[in-house]
Symmetry: C2
Subunit: 87 residues, 2 copies
Amino acid sequence: MYVIIVYDIGEKRVAKVCKFLRKYLNWVQNSVFEGNLTESQFEKVKYGLKKLICEEEDAVLYYVFSTPKWVERGILGKEKNPISDFL
Amino acid sequence: MYVIIVYDIGEKRVAKVCKFLRKYLNWVQNSVFEGNLTESQFEKVKYGLKKLICEEEDAVLYYVFSTPKWVERGILGKEKNPISDFL
């Protein structure tokens, strides 16, 4: 499964969240991670994020699809971190 | 077509980009817009964004899929702007 995670997190917590997500996914640009995960890895990511964020203040949005084939992905401007996973 | 736009834009330009995107899409959380667009609307969005951003500094990522049915969308923490388009 292909996962995109976009977050809007308080400054005090964002470094920890970033460090955690880097273990599983590719940093793409500020507040955006992407990559292939298994079901169990994704459950671990959600579980880990819930422990790191403040549920009243922070927002983490995720989009999951079974294959990237159904999605056209594009960039305008500067690609901050080119990833090969997607193609 | 369903479109997700995530941007990482310099402070001097972000307000204009936000104002522009609000004409076409739903603001979901900081740096994230989503919504249904026609092909021609999406072309207008891309054209308009190219005129507003600085190609050397700013990054705009977009994900396009023909129907949201293929995507599982979820939120952890606080939903900054609930949208009904997706379901």
